[in-house]
Amino acid sequence: MSIKIKVEGLYKIFGNHPEKALKLLKEGASKEEIFKKTKQAVGCLDINFHVEEGEILVVMGLSGSGKSTLIRCLNRLNEPTKGKVAVDGVNVTALNHKELMEFRRKKFGFVFQNFALFPHRTVQANTEYGLEIQGVDPIERAERAKTALAQVGLAGWEQSMPGQLSGGMQQRVGLARALAVDPDILLMDEAFSALDPLIRRGMQDELISLQDKVKKTIVFITHDLDEALKIGDRIILMKDGKVVQEGTPEDILTNPATRYVEKFVEDVDMSKVLTARAVMTSAKVVAYPKDGPLVALRKMREQGMSSIFVMEKDGRFLGLLTAESAKGAADRGDKLIKEVINHKELPTVHPDDPLNSLFPLLAKHTFPLPVLDDEQKLMGIVVRGAVYAGLAERGSVA
């Protein structure tokens, strides 16, 4: 594989007098000291790494670690203070304004944390944006935007406005906008962080399968280690503007380079820290109180389940209906399942409950555990297999 992006000795300092900060950095001052003395904020500090063609490189760090600054230095949305960024051997840091515009148009697609869709344009027009400013002919760009929207599963939504879409769908538009220009490189800045956990995991899966087809070079920023481990071919861990470790997910889990990384990784393999949220799946089929017992039975049969969760249309959780009680109700000729829903003695869990508190519940009951949010809405379910799978996936280093 060839090297797509190479970053050498990159510094980014915010403020009017970066030279003062650079001097202090050389003398070994810390970020905080520099800010106190010179009012210059250090974003990135001597960063060196490369991205190979066709890989997903995840840059992972907590907020304030400089990861968003770093990704913006790659296409010079943030002007690097010092150092070099090369893409395909071209020194991006040396391009003049016009060349840079051209480079951004052709090489990079950018996906933003808060979607950054243009609210006055339709989904189609948003997707066309990159092609439009390149001056691509309208018929061709409409075609390419349509293809990109179909790739992210939004065929048929072309004429909607972004405000009418859910968060997950808006980010699909964001992704389609990036794919439409057919760039070599996708820069994704916390692209899934603003989404609900379930939708977020769905998007991660889709990104992985999409990447199998499109084979882009992707730089993906996240603060979530689970996400980094899941989608990254390689991971760079950042802290205080510096790279603390670089390697494959396996490397990082098995050989944490510093105490900092170790602490991060420690969290991953403990059932105490894994929460119900991390292992829950969506309840594919549920019954509603207006359903009759036969409808509920059929839903169970189709899914091969012996019980089904019942909720209101607005998502409020009502209880569990077993096949036996539904059958009983049907034999008695009841029209509604309301009477036979079991809502007493039914264990429910909160998304933030740690896994180890789920074990006793799962051992005692044969049905999945409903995960309810603070408003008693059904967010998902936890099945026994998923808990063990979740632990096994991450427990290999325990």
């Binding site: 051209e102 990079f108 950054a116 243009f118 944006y129 400013i133």
Partner: protein, 278 residues
């Protein structure tokens, strides 16, 4: 304070105006000619149509832009003015307001864009606007006369000066309010500054800009009435005559005319502004 001689500020200003009015004569004459043609053209054009037809046209415009209710209101209000015998005065005032607004927008929009895009321009323009808006409106009437003489052109010039600040300010504000992340997105895809301006900033700023134009129209109307003192004519002229002859009834009628015109213009432009948001 007697031990410091008075600073002859007034003398300085006057000699500056004298100097400018002689040296810029070709320019002021050109402006005069342009404005006079524009205003007279508008007035003659509107007076050429029979009042009932013009009222129907106005009502239709109101209907198209703002709905049935406003169309009916417009028709009733204008019929009332026609009935009071204020028809020609109304047209003169309306022509002056529309022409002044057009000039104010033609000046204000580019300046507002400039102030939004360049920090230096913003720092220069803002204090000038502050100054213009705190200066009493009457003061603008005086220097207009040596440059343009008594009459509608002087009235238009002072009206434009008085009415242009909101157009500049709100254009600038509207553009600056465009969320930073959208600007960043446009930048990330390699937009030039003009692509950003026309594809993103101006469309998103339109409701705010329309609010600015609405204010410009309202200020124009109020200034056109004041400018009757330097020969603007129209409804303001009627009010001014009523004051001089101590005829409260006549003054009230003309004043009511101003109110009706103000309401029609305000409602229509407000609706245009909101229609853009969606």
């Amino acid at each position: 304070m007697e031990w410091i001689p008075k600073i002859p500020l007034a003398d300085w200003i006057e000699s500056a105006i004298d100097w400018a009015s002689t040296n810029f004569a070709p320019l002021t004459k050109a402006i005069s000619a342009f404005a006079e043609t524009g205003i007279n053209g508008l007035v003659t054009g509107m007076e050429w149509l029979p009042p009932w037809l013009l009222i129907a046209v106005f009502a239709a415009i109101a209907w198209r832009l703002a709905g049935v209710k406003l169309a009916i209101g417009t028709a009733i209000g204008l019929l009332f003015l026609w009935n009071l015998g204020l028809w020609n005065s109304t047209l003169e005032t309306l022509a002056l307001v529309l022409f002044s607004t057009m000039v104010a927008v033609a000046i204000g929009l580019p300046l507002g864009i400039l102030a939004a895009l360049s920090e230096t321009c913003y720092r220069i323009i803002t204090p000038i606007l502050d100054f213009m808006q705190t200066m009493p409106a009457f003061v603008y009437l005086i220097p207009a006369i040596p440059f343009f003489g008594l009459g509608p052109v002087s009235a238009m010039v002072s009206t434009v000066i008085f009415a242009v600040p909101p157009a500049i300010r709100l254009t600038c504000l509207g553009i600056r309010q465009v969320p930073k992340d959208l600007i960043e997105a446009a930048d990330a895809y390699g937009s030039t500054w003009s692509q950003k301006l026309f594809k993103l900033q101006l469309p998103l700023a339109t409701p705010t800009i329309m609010a600015g134009i609405n204010q410009t129209i309202m200020l124009s109307l109020s200034m056109v009435v004041i400018a009757a003192m330097i020969g603007a004519g129209g409804l303001g002229g009627d009010v001014w005559k009523a004051i001089q002859r101590l005829k409260p009834g006549m003054g009230f009628e003309a004043g009511l005319g101003v109110v009706i015109l103000a309401m029609i213009l305000d409602r229509i432009t407000q609706k245009i502004g909101r229609g853009q948001v969606k």
